[in-house]
Subunit: 113 residues, 2 copies
Amino acid sequence: MARAATTSDAFNAIAEPRRRQIIGLLAHGERPVNEVVKKLRIAQPQVSKHLGVLEKVGLVTVREAGRQRFYKLNAKALKPIHDWVKTFERLWNERLDRLADYLNELQAQEKPK
Amino acid sequence: MARAATTSDAFNAIAEPRRRQIIGLLAHGERPVNEVVKKLRIAQPQVSKHLGVLEKVGLVTVREAGRQRFYKLNAKALKPIHDWVKTFERLWNERLDRLADYLNELQAQEKPK
DNA sequence: CGAATATATTCCCATATCGGAATACAACAA
DNA sequence: TTGTTGTATTCCGATATGGGAATATATTCG
């Protein structure tokens, strides 16, 4: 087996920095492909490919209008990621961190050089 | 160029489901490799490899004790991910969602079959 | 020392990736 | 029709993955 497909997961899809950029841009609202190309300065074919990945995992939806395709962010698809990371939030906010630091300081003072 | 290395980023590192599992386990505290092996039922070499990746991106730290190595979660390294996803939180909480749904319903009623 | 235990490393393989370049396609314009 | 514009698809090559299996390394035990 190889690495999981980028299209298998929102987790895998957002591992790509450019896809995160695209998501960031689409957060301001629906956009046609060409605008993504211009704003982010990524070649058109790659933009289409990245959008394809995002669509496959449900992170964006498309609306066709003439020869343009407007891509729209479907933020809900990011929630699983948020939920997962949030689980660990307390671990980095915890005052225990400071407490530990404090205790270390105390210990350091007890054994002055 | 190929896909970015799994070791290039926390984003890339957590794309792997098993690595997320490992992180989940280590959230309860420091653990030796063998306990991860037993609890998650992943072959030992793969566990060592996954832990290696997590270490490289700073998601875990190691403490050596005799022939054991205790891996500990460094939750802070997850914060960038949290921060990024959080940016979009309002987009899925937004009541605008409900408003849109409501308006659609209205429209549907105006044009009764 | 030799055996056992805990963990890491190395090889191998099937599989995808991402970017670039070229090209296909569809809608619209003249 | 022919040309143009907006987007998608295909082919290429370099690269790395993750699992499995075998093996290496280090520490502890008897």
